[in-house]
Symmetry: D2
């Protein structure tokens, strides 16, 4: 049994993490924590998320310093804002904990990236160097050896799972950038009081055009430029990404199918569609990323769907945990 601490357990990804880890046969939840200033400190997780009543009634402890738990737990999940993860992770790491960070604080191994896109100076270059990007289907080997796993963002997971097989197989025409149009549920904005997220204000719309933080994360890891336009949808959970690409001249539908097959035929949490493309309902509440596509001439449409809180956050973190510690990859996930 591994002892674990979940920081940021009251958020939407945090509560999913807690739910998965609560039923994981090799994990013991030592504590659930929130920041010392959080209005949730002292409450029960099940008071905030009533679906957990009688299932997981642990209190949310106010975290004053990482050191409080550093010696008591083997594994730490940080479901926190990137500044908080940036500040907390090193102390846990120095104490030997394995850390799964769901924020953006360690996702790109380049300190300058943070100054440019996140507006802060990264203070932990050594840990940044050692961090492994937890795109589970593509980083299996590195995750097994890592102490710090930076779990990818929700949009980057869907986008990369859809595009990486095509790029690796050199199928895309470099003269034309892939166009990623993606729509996310409101839970992607986090659990907080904000007029933008209020029921009466939510309405399908693009946002962050040309300047969403997930854009450079996608580009940095794919190694090719893309156009990424996120949208807010009027639903709670899920991401659907519709990606329009130009194929190289001689690429056939079969070549595309083969590239996806090679990448994912042995990956249990990516489901390929032989015909058709996924609807969002196929993945909500589930740890899969579903991928389908269609080809006409040199034009390719790939559609990827995932639950933004699961394969886009919590279930991918647990998938990384399972890989890291040698548990079955889908343990407690399906």
């Amino acid at each position: 049994m591994l002892n674990t601490l979940i920081v940021g357990a009251s958020g939407y990804a945090g509560v999913e993490l807690a739910t998965y880890l609560n039923r994981h046969p090799h994990m013991n939840i030592t504590a659930l924590a929130v920041s010392a200033q959080s209005p949730d400190a002292g409450k029960l997780l099940s008071d905030l998320h009533p679906q957990l009543k009688g299932v997981l009634d642990l209190p949310l402890q106010p975290l004053r310093a990482a050191q409080e738990y550093a010696g008591k737990v083997d594994v730490v999940f940080l479901a926190t804002a990137h500044e908080v993860s940036h500040a907390l992770a090193p102390a846990f790491l120095d104490a030997g904990c394995v850390v799964f960070d769901l924020s953006g604080a360690f996702r790109v191994n380049d300190a300058d990236f943070y100054q440019q896109y996140y507006g802060f100076s990264h203070q932990h270059a050594a840990w940044l160097d050692k961090a492994v990007y937890g795109l589970a289907e593509w980083q299996h080997g590195a995750i097994k050896e890592a102490q710090l796993i930076a779990v990818p963002g929700c949009y980057p997971t869907a986008s990369q799972l859809a595009l990486k097989p095509l790029i690796e197989a050199n199928l895309l025409n470099p003269a034309q950038w892939p166009v990623i149009n993606a729509t996310s549920g409101v839970s992607g904005a986090g659990r907080k009081a904000a007029l933008n997220n209020s029921f009466c204000e939510v309405s399908l719309q693009p946002y962050g055009i040309f300047n969403h933080r997930h854009h450079p994360e996608i580009v940095a890891h794919l190694g090719v430029p893309v156009i990424f336009t996120p949208h807010l949808g009027n639903f709670a959970r899920g991401i659907l990404a519709t990606i329009t690409c130009r194929l190289n001249h001689d690429v056939s539908r079969e070549d595309v199918a083969e590239a996806f097959h090679n990448a994912y035929h042995d990956k249990p949490l990516v489901r390929l569609y032989e015909t058709g493309v996924p609807a969002l309902k196929a993945v909500v509440g589930l740890p899969y990323c579903d991928i389908g596509f269609d080809v006409q001439g040199e034009h390719l449409i790939v559609v990827a769907a995932e639950d933004n809180l699961l394969k886009g956050a919590a279930s991918q973190a647990v998938q990384c945990l399972n890989i890291r510690f040698g548990f079955p990859e889908t343990q407690s996930l399906i």
Copy 2:
């Protein structure tokens, strides 16, 4: 042309008021105002409510004191919190303005009521005495003479329009209190950042059981006790009230139909159903209260539906305006 000021124009009822008054042939919107502290001060109404872009691009002026506008306008609409209405109304009234208050500050002609249910000591007993309750279908004569019209709350409008004809006709068995179960859209909670109203948190549920402020308003004006249980529904707009009553022994279905007919046959904004009961969609976006019913033995179910922001707030305020100034009752409403 009457000059008018709308205070609280950025809220959900306020923007509906502004929309109606903007197309009213006898009204001129002199200014839209919000409190001096409001984050909306200085913005255009159409920046906050994009449906009004190009239609009503007036700025939201910060209101520092009622006196600023008291001499400039003939009519004032207060779509404000009850404390704000309580503080602002007298200066406008003293300056001779006709005031339509959409808050609870002047709805019950009894100063003690406010101490008990609203937690503040009412300072304007003289105006409270003169205030007329703007339940339009029942207060026509008094509204025509009033300087201060207290527009009813959303739940009270639906509840009273459904029950008052039955009570006036003495059809209800006094041994059993009417049971009002009503479900309101989220807009009833106002336009503000609040975790409870956030898209991912909203879920059908009762609230304010035995202690909602609209309960004493209903009881005070109906003159009979009721059990009132409000619910939050997962939709933006509308109220549906299902009311279960016990009839006196000898009361027939025809008696009930006759009571409703007598009350509303000449009222253009209450629509009676000869068979069946209304669904919410019949009234959303419209200024009607729709009423249907069914009888079995001594049991009566009455269903009333309205748009909480319209017949439950803004359109009833304009209906009162039309009555007050002798315009056609439905002017600019249908």
Copy 3:
């Protein structure tokens, strides 16, 4: 391992049954079936319900006669219309299968009931006599011995779980009938093309006033009259019932709490609220019925929430299976 057949597996309750039984360690799904005329015959369950892709890709076999499977399976689940269940169940029963029927065909041990409320003449009085009503928390002993378990309807489950402890403890004033106002998600109407269920038509509204089939089921099993008004809500899943009762003169809040505690303190799938009442989101996707209440004077409001497809159908059927065969009551449910 028990071999099982699920008839009606393509419906919304059927697919939930299939999902539970697929992960049940003591159950083997021998076949999924639909009626021979069903447009779903021959398709994969996961083609209709894409969340099951890769999880449960079994085909939906056209059922021509119960005898086809009668000798091959130990357990049969009928998630079918009441006429279909009425026609199919006896052959399975005669062959020795244990049958869990989710329809209304065997819920009331009185053949006249069916003529009156379902419009058909019940042909299987002997089996009707032996049928056990599967309200799991109240029928534990009988379920253990039964061959035919009639799983209760969705509204009756929530209504009875809320009212039965009060009636058993003799807390309710018989002069006033309990008023049950309940709102169900659209899935309660089944998986079929119907204008009433289409996305653009659904809107909160009462239906079946004074004549819904679940009313006599509730009354027959509770043994007291009630007023039951069901509503269609604009959400996919869940039932929330708000029940208004009159208490006997000397009944206190503590008496009510004690009645609920006595009934459910050792029942894992009913969750009692010490304070407050449930919201729908507490139970959607989960096998619980959550119950809370409030008292003022002689007035009692009880609120019960459940997932109409789970505790109101599929999970209660599996709960009955677990009880019947001596598995842990919550096996594969939580």
Copy 4:
């Protein structure tokens, strides 16, 4: 006063047409009709669409032949399936009626088009030649002279209003096809019982990839190739189109703004955003198409939003009527 007939009045676009025309000061609704076989024949429009109760209680007459009304009305609106419009329009036209057809039957002046994309042989080449495409902002002169106006499809309206100014100004790089990703509300599928449109089945998803009928309509009228991927969204009304384009090398943000300004500065029903892009809520229930854009380097994102039933159908038809008969362009629309 012009006498008018609306065929297909019970559908979602038909009822919007009826609502507009009912309040149009120059129009008299002679009859509302549906096909002789329609289940709606004989009902009141307000029975099917309760928002019209007391407002427009006309019956839906079964239309047996166009000739029945050909001599009685001046104007005919066909809110019917393309086969029905194809069959009905000529008789009305031959009788001298002005016909506004909301179907696809006369949108492209090329009979071969119908064989290829609609699967039927067009029988009315002469009328097809004379038909004017009712993209109101671009066809003002031709509409004024037309007897048959083919009102554009919902997706084509948003797509063309967004792209046409850029193409006319020669701003787009022809080497890269514009990528149109658009999401429509469920009402776009029409008012009918269909499992795909049922509340529990609807979920964000692409459909008609590379083969939606609106694709050739867009291409035929724009004169350039595009990639068009429609999506079904989980909302009732509205279309949001996000269009990704490549600009010619020397094109600036100001050039794009100027192109839109030139096209629409004097068009009352297209609203341009100086900054930001529209959300769907800006246009639902309103007759506008809202357009915003952003530029980065040679990449341009244009976002267009409209109500699919209004600017994408009924209000554009009335706008064409207003143009055709010299009424103010926005008469009865705003």
